[in-house]
Amino acid sequence: MSEATDDGQVVRLKVNGAELSVAVPGDEPLATTLRDRVGLRSVRTACGIGICGSCTVQVEGRAVSSCLMLTAAVGERSVRTCEGLVGAEGAPGRVQQAFVDNRAYQCSYCIPGMVVSVDAYLGEHPDADVDEVRHALSGNLCRCGTYVSILAAVHDLVASARSGAAAATPAD
């Protein structure tokens, strides 16, 4: 009954492709578990109410606010954080590289959440245009106002997806 006890239940999670077990109190948000127990520090809490997007992670490939999800209710669904979007050999993933190339970072507190959101949206909507991604990103807030550079990264990603799709289509 006491809210202070840490006598949580052991929960199995699939995070960034690995299975792990953590003991968590029932009311612990996923953001806290990932950050403080699993050590995935790209997951950051800022607003605590699902507005800002600093704690964005993918659950079954879709972006969610991990501050508004209970760890104990995640179940079998797979979780991915920005650390989990790094490619082979530790190189930045596709979306991450586009952010690096376009200098789409300032203080960068919000940036991993942005990357996770863009990656999720383009994963589900590979043909999306810049404006659709812009709307999908509207719930990820950046107080430095890096939005122009972030949109430049999105533009590159959309353009490369299109040219990739065009290249994959045999010419007639």
């Binding site: 840490d6 203080c107 507190y109 807030l141 107080r143 106002g145 949109l151």
Partner: protein
């Protein structure tokens, strides 16, 4: 020959960590054995603390202590508990009484955050409510509730300036205009919250990791508070997840350091978002401007009265009102000026720095009024500015002679990009209207101030720069590395930067006021000269060289010898490392020595910015949309074009928020929107489709570098207000220009039509 390192688009060296999320902020710092703090905050705007009953809280498993202000006040190890950079008026935790809702009253310290959180709600504080005041004008009236016994008139700054016979000019002037403008409290909203970890060792030394823009101030304040020598207080400032002024001065560090001392174990405190909203905010301001003009629109005299809300503690006051006074005249040639600038304590969130500090408010007033004058005289606002803007050699309101000012170039730049003389595009419907507006601003820079850079040249040819300038996303370290590579003429890839750790890095006044690039440039210039002298000495003494040397491309040579790479020189000399320090000490600022009579030199140089916008106003809803926005700032030279653009763009985006909807509202002594749903900041969809900026530079390759961290934000709100006026013929003198406020003004002017 390498390509020039200044002006090159070099990424931040830790770009991948920033994007992947592996960069470590203060919020990621942990030390072994650390306990966790949780605040108990005041529920009353002004009250005596009758008792703090922690019995139930202490019974929660894992709770180690509930520290109160009284505990700190009676502890002989804390001889000077009151702190404040501008005025020592603030206790680490409220002692005897609380002065605003949200003020920290007690700190629960527990083994886990969870236990601390559970216990904090069980701390029972009994208050005896006192009368309270939240309006600064009321606070200054006789008989108002007194916040601090030491300042019974609630005054927290009273600055005056008088130049010329102002009253005589007003008596004779062709036109006199007078308006009152208001700018509300607003919140900086850094996404990384305030966080600090404090640890004492057995020998009585204190080590602190904090999300701060002012590590040297934190060190000094804590050393004084605990009466320790400076070398026994070590402050680390990891990269910040946003600052915007919020993390200037000294904030939660004293509370955490006191708790660690009293509990005898390291303590970490991370505030939650509601608490962040209660630490510091932008100064609310009421500004009365009376201006005399001739028939041509020349500004003849100004009489300005500024009143700021300092909040419950003077984080930057009483000095802040003086900074505002210096900037209140705007970038204009006005022969006769009288200004009074005051700040008053009230029972509200303490005010402090906010990107564009003490400039955003006055620029809204003077740039709005300039357009009001233009409208009165039937003049074009752009031409009216060109007629009055300061140029080099002009005398400013303070009496100092202006130099290196480029206001006309700036206004020309933004007017040109916004197609000032072309009418706006036709609006999409009969119930929408469009207009353009512009604004120009100036800002003094902290003077005097000091920046030191320690530079090590190692035998492997690598260069390490030690700096106490804080990396807060502006790219300070990357800029310092580029400046070091430039001044030392070595390859950028050989330069690394060690950031603020007061035990290792030399002094820097603060990372604020857009002074970092400018002052590090000077300090590194000097460090490079010292390094060359040192290397010349080595060459003479150990290699027997004689005659004048040349340095370039990481090599030293004489007419007879070399070129010898630096690393080879060190190897030949058997020297492992050469260590030099460059210092920049800006001098002047004596114009502000006497608050009752500001005159003379106030700023080592002037920051300059301009913004032009095109807006669309929905006449049925009052909602303002910024369609186009172009900003310009004076940079002199550019170290990194991408980062300069991001500073200018980011300022305008932040400025759009404060222009249109950001407003930290106080009702019945309580902030009613301390969360990011009720207090909204701009999203990507709020960025105008056309948002561009340009940093203006000099033809002179030796031109002075100017910081660009806050030059476009103060011009954004007045440019928008002016554009709304030109679209609707309605003048809104209160920020923000909410849809409701604009609609009320439109309706007031044009009575509602029948249905």
């Amino acid at each position: 020959m390498r390509r020039p390192v200044l002006g090159a688009d070099q990424p931040m060296p830790d770009a991948v960590d920033r994007v992947v999320g592996t960069i470590r902020f203060a919020v990621d710092h942990a030390v072994p054995g650390m306990l966790h703090g949780r605040l108990v905050s005041s529920q009353s705007p002004h009250a005596r603390i009758v008792s703090v009953d922690a019995t139930e809280a202490l019974a929660v498993p894992g709770v180690r202590a509930v520290v109160t202000g009284a505990d700190i006040a009676r502890d002989p190890r804390v001889p000077h508990p009151l702190f404040g950079v501008s005025r020592p008026d603030q206790p680490p935790l409220a002692t005897d009484k609380v002065r605003y809702v949200g003020e920290p009253v007690a700190l629960v310290v527990a083994e886990t955050e969870r236990a601390a959180r559970a216990a904090a709600v069980l701390v029972d504080v009994e208050y005896e409510d006192l009368p309270y005041v939240t309006d600064p004008a009321e606070a200054l009236r006789p008989g108002a509730p007194v916040l601090h016994d030491q300042w019974p008139d609630n005054a927290c700054g009273d600055w005056r300036l008088q130049r010329g016979d102002v009253d005589a000019v007003f008596r004779q002037a062709e036109h006199v205009v007078e308006h009152v403008y208001h700018s509300p409290a607003a919140s900086q909203v850094p996404l990384e919250p305030f966080v600090a970890v404090a640890e004492w060792d057995d020998a009585g030394s204190l080590e602190v990791w904090s999300s701060t823009q002012w590590p040297s101030a934190v060190q000094r304040v804590l050393a004084h508070m605990f009466d320790r020598p400076l070398d026994q207080v070590r402050v680390h400032a990891p990269p910040l997840g946003g600052g915007y002024g919020a993390k200037g001065q000294v904030k939660i560090e004293p509370m955490v350091a006191c708790a660690a001392l009293l509990v005898g174990q390291p303590v970490r405190l991370e505030l939650d978002r509601v608490e962040v909203f209660h630490v510091v905010c932008k100064h609310e301001a009421t500004m009365r401007l009376r201006t005399a003009v001739d028939g041509e629109g020349r500004l003849l005299a100004r009489d300005i009265d500024l009143l700021y809300n300092a909040g419950a503690y003077g984080i930057t006051d009483p000095g802040a009102a003086g900074n505002a006074l210096v900037r209140a005249n705007g970038p204009y040639r006005v022969p006769a000026v009288r200004i009074r600038s005051r700040a008053a304590y009230t029972s509200t969130v303490p005010s402090g720095s906010y990107r564009g500090a003490m400039t955003n408010q006055v620029s809204f007033a003077y740039e709005s009024q300039l357009d009001e004058i233009a409208a009165l005289l039937g003049k074009d606002p752009y031409e009216l500015r060109r007629l009055n803007l300061l140029v080099d050699g002009d005398t400013y309101a303070t009496g100092e002679t202006m130099h290196d000012v480029h206001f006309i170039e700036l206004v020309d730049e933004v007017a040109s990009v916004i197609d000032w003389h072309a009418p706006p595009e036709p609006p999409p419907s009969a119930t929408t209207v469009r207009g353009k507006g512009l604004a120009v601003i100036l800002k003094s820079t902290p003077t005097p101030s000091r920046t030191e850079c320690r530079v090590e040249l190692h035998a492997d040819g690598s260069v390490v720069v030690f700096t106490s300038s804080v990396e807060m996303g502006q790219g300070a370290f990357a800029t310092i590395a580029q400046l070091a590579a430039h001044h030392l003429d070595v390859d950028l890839s050989r330069v690394s930067v060690v950031g603020p750790d007061t035990a290792r890095t030399p002094f820097d006044t603060m990372t604020a006021g857009s002074r970092t690039t400018f002052s590090n440039d000077h300090a590194l210039h000097e460090a490079a000269a010292h390094l060359r002298e040192h290397l010349d000495g080595l060459a003479r003494e150990l290699l027997g060289w004689s005659g004048p040397t040349q340095h370039g491309d990481g090599c030293v040579s004489t007419s007879d010898e070399g070129p010898v790479p630096y690393e080879l020189l060190l190897a030949k000399a058997g020297v492992d490392v050469v260590d030099v320090t460059g210092v920049f000490q800006s001098v002047g600022g004596e114009g502000m020595k006497d608050p009752s009579d500001v005159h003379g030199h106030t700023s080592v140089h002037w920051h300059q910015g301009a913004v032009a916008v095109e807006v669309e106003v929905d006449l049925e809803t009052g909602k303002v949309e910024v369609l186009r926005c172009h900003g310009a700032s004076w940079a002199g030279r550019v170290v990194n074009p991408a980062r300069v653009r991001q500073q200018n763009d980011g300022c305008m985006i932040m400025g759009i928020g404060t222009a249109l909807y950001e407003d930290l509202q106080v009702v019945d002594g309580q902030v009613v929107n301390p969360n990011m749903s009720d207090y909204m900041i701009p999203s990507v969809l709020d960025v105008p489709q056309a948002l561009t900026s340009r940093a203006l530079v000099s033809d002179d390759p030796a031109a002075e570098l100017h910081g660009v961290g806050e030059m476009t934000i103060p011009a954004t709100a007045p440019a928008i207000a002016n554009a709304v006026f030109r679209a609707t013929a309605v003048r809104v003198r209160d920020l923000p220009l909410t849809a409701e406020r604009v609609l009320s003004a439109v309706r007031g002017r044009e009575p509602q039509e029948g249905a």
